[in-house]
Amino acid sequence: MKSEKFDMGDIDIAWCPGCGNFGILNVLKKTLDELKIDPGNLVLVSGIGQAAKIPHYLKTNFFNGLHGRALPPATGIKASNPSLTVIAESGDGDMYGEGGNHFIHTIRRNPDITNIVHNNMVYGLTKGQASPTSQRGFVTPVQVAGVILEPFNPLAVAIALNAGFVARTFIGDMDKTIEIFKKAINYKGYALVDVLQPCVTFNKINTYQWFRDNTYYLEDSYDSHDRNTAFKRATEPDKLPLGIFYINPDKTPFEENTGVYQQNDTPLFNREVDYGKLESLISKYALV
């Protein structure tokens, strides 16, 4: 799986050998390549964590911001220049824990960005504490008696928030992941892809094998346009379905709704102040 356009050549990658993040990196490069996206027109936005290091490993513009805060700058970037392709990508702790409030409200806001979450069910970079998606009973140095909180179900929450595109993939299946990444990026609006990714160092429970044993694909006949069915499938108690759970093709992205681009599609950086108009606004304050 080679992708020249986005390749960085011989660089030092800080991930552990065998980590699922490598697969996601390869899949992402391949996807972008196949979609013929120009690196100069792409912005990868991430937070902090192992997953969040991804922008450093491919050739692209990027904004590697704060832990938990990938979505707000991604929104700000897209809204300031809608011609950019914007992908917000981080770990499960970053997106669903520290960044939980942005997750909710970005879905409500619906900017045309793709949100890829590396879900390894653990905090990798900080060495193995529970993440919001850690399963009950998962023992860590902090959760000494095992996780007692209800695991966060990102798909169910996204569907509850009426997100326009909601999918889950497993990085053990790269081809299918590429396929879904493509659809997510092409979707006009906020698209969530939760990628199941083994952390070989700190998560000895949810391994490649565990994911293989505990996932399956939604049937071909599955209709991804029904929100109630999507919810039902997203909350199935046993195995984790993979695929596109829900698509709502009728949403208008945030930046289109803001009104700033209705008469003028120039990105904000290229605009000038209308000083004439400002002068007349000021002079209005001379009147009653």
Binding site: T60, N64, L66, R69, P73, N264, E272, Y285
Partner: protein
């Protein structure tokens, strides 16, 4: 009964008092606009409780034939719309205060009934058709003092009610006339006539408040993105820009919280927008990690921080200058910043405008530090001059081998934006190399710290010097910053001393190098601040290397008053 107008050169202070939701604001708005249209200098400010209905609020309106722009305690005429008015303002009411109101409402509270002009606003209004016209009846009574006839303000009324029906307009005209008639025919009316001369130039001036001055400055500075979360008193700027968003192509977004607001705005700058946030107290505390992010990314950022009394929720609708040190040290780690603290409307406009250019130039966060008093005060001033306003875009079109954090002599790396040019723009919150990639090269770390911090030298060279008002050969120096300047200036002018000057800082960090000399020249120095800890005096100690002789501090949630602060200063001289 003294004739107010007899005290020569003195302005008239009118205070309106009533519950939230009772319409004081309508009286204030209509009356001040009539005043200005008729050539009077006018200043208005309000103090109010953190509630939507009920409670006790008051608005001060000063009317003069000379520019007037400061709060005073003195009340010449008090219009009381509600029971409790006298109690609420007891400290400011003197035997000289004339009170206008309904005998039925205020009768019990006013001791000297002679001082009560009984005008039954609501009865008169009811006769016209509805109690809702009471406010206009009150305005009618007020204009009578100015010897302005109802006929002369019909245009004002038309303008004011332009969005309302013809019937409403007519009823209001009727109400105004009735109030006027009632007042002029009162026995003790003539005593409060105001003789201030109408000045023609005033008519051409503008009447804006602090938030409008900041908002207009932002537009002039090229602001086209504001993301914020409502919080008193900072919301006014968000509302102002939202209201003007269509006309000026501004993306105004209410974020889910302050953390999102500042991160969204930093993202916007990254993509080439000119973004700002507006916030107060706790909202700003939540943004401090974002401030640090701007420091590390070397992102321009403009933060309007409208102060209110803390800690925590404190007094949400009151005023204080309590967040100076917070603004100065906010954010973990070390990086440069600029803090402006405009005290006049003009300064608010020009400094906000400048904030965008200078943030862009130095790639740092720039603060506009105001407070509730400043935000909610207004007076007539010259229309802001746009001649020297330009949007200086400091970003570049990138070439192939562009490096966002290129090490340069002066620490400033040309700022590229994604999609403009052939380079890639990599912004990183970790310590990074010149390309923007995460690094653990600790020698490079030193270079990067130095690069960020050395910008401060350049920034200092462009610092705005403090403004000296009064005699050049002073013995005593009264030092203030931000919103208090007009109050202090009026107070010190009124003292009329040749040995006492005022030093006004509109840029509080980094300080202009002249600060040390100007302060050390005085044998006595007094810093006047609206807080309990004397924060600016501490800042002067570290950054101007001076010791201050006296502090005058106020922290009850109200601004200083030019008359009573003058007394305090006098005692210390």
């Amino acid at each position: 009964m003294a004739n107010l107008s007899a005290k020569k050169g003195r302005d008239i202070s009118v205070v309106l008092c009533g519950q939230a939701g009772q319409g004081i604001q309508t009286v204030e708005k209509l009356f001040t606009r009539i005043l200005k249209a008729n050539g009077y200098h006018v200043f208005a400010t309000k103090e109010y409780m953190s509630r939507v209905r009920g409670g006790m609020n008051s608005t001060l309106i000063r009317i003069s034939d000379k520019p007037v722009c400061a709060f005073i305690d003195r009340i010449d005429i008090l219009v009381g719309l509600n029971k409790g008015t006298v109690k609420h303002l007891k400290k400011r009411i003197t035997p000289e205060t004339m009170i206008i109101g309904e005998m039925g409402v205020l009768g019990d509270e006013v001791e000297n009934k002679n001082r009560l002009l009984d005008i039954p606003f609501s009865e008169i209004a009811a006769n016209i058709g509805s109690k809702i016209y009471s406010n206009t009846v009150a305005v009618g009574a007020l204009i009578s003092m100015l010897s302005v006839k109802p006929e002369e303000v019909i245009d004002c009324l038309k303008q004011f009610f332009k969005d309302k029906s013809q019937e409403i307009l007519e009823k209001n005209i009727e109400a105004l006339k009735a109030g006027y008639e009632k007042a002029v025919n009162l026995e003790n009316f003539s005593s409060i006539k105001i003789k201030a001369a109408a000045i023609n130039e005033v008519k051409k001036q503008i009447l804006v408040n602090g938030s409008e001055a900041v908002g207009l400055g932002a537009i002039a500075g090229g602001c086209n993105f504001i993301s914020s979360y409502p919080m008193s008193p900072s919301t006014a700027v968000l509302v102002f820009l939202a209201q003007n968003s269509r006309d000026f192509g501004i993306l105004a977004e209410q974020a889910e919280d302050e953390i999102s607001a500042i991160n969204m705005a930093i993202g916007a700058w990254y993509a080439g927008a000119r973004a700002m946030v507006t916030t107060s107290g706790g909202g700003f505390a939540l943004m401090t990690e974002g401030i640090s992010l701007a420091g590390m990314l070397e992102s321009p950022m403009v933060i309007h921080l409208a102060q209110r009394p803390g800690p925590a929720t404190g007094l949400p609708t009151r005023t204080e200058q309590g967040d100076l040190e917070l603004a100065l040290y906010a954010g973990h780690g070390e990086f440069p910043r600029i803090i402006f603290a405009p005290g006049t409307l003009e300064d608010a406009f020009y400094l906000t405008q400048k904030a965008f250019n200078i943030a862009d130039k130095f790639q740092i966060p720039v603060f506009i530090l105001t407070d509730q008093y400043f935000i909610d005060s207004y007076y007539n001033t010259e229309p802001f001059n746009l001649k020297n306003c330009t949007v200086e875009k400091h970003f570049i079109e990138t070439s192939e081998n562009y490096r966002r954090y290129k090490l340069t002599e002066d620490g400033i790396s040309p700022r590229g934006i994604p999609g403009f040019g052939r380079g890639l723009v990599c912004a990183d919150s970790d310590e990074h190399d010149q390309e923007g990639h995460i690094t653990e090269d600790l020698e490079l770390r030193i270079k990067m710290v130095d690069k960020r911090l050395k910008k401060l030298d350049l920034i200092k060279q462009e610092s705005i010097p403090p403004e000296l008002l009064g005699p050049e050969n002073y013995e005593n120096l009264i030092i203030c910053w931000g919103s208090t300047i007009n109050i202090i200036n009026e107070a010190v002018s009124n003292l009329g001393r040749k040995d006492t000057a005022v030093l006004y800082f509109k840029q509080v960090y980094p300080l202009h190098e002249s600060a040390n000399k100007l302060i050390n020249k005085a044998s006595k120095t007094i810093v006047v601040e609206n807080n309990a800890a004397g924060q600016f005096a501490r800042l002067l100690k570290i950054h101007a290397d001076v010791n201050i002789s006296h502090n005058i501090l106020k922290y009850d949630g109200l601004c200083f008053a030019s008359d009573s602060i003058a007394e305090k200063i006098k005692k210390l001289l």
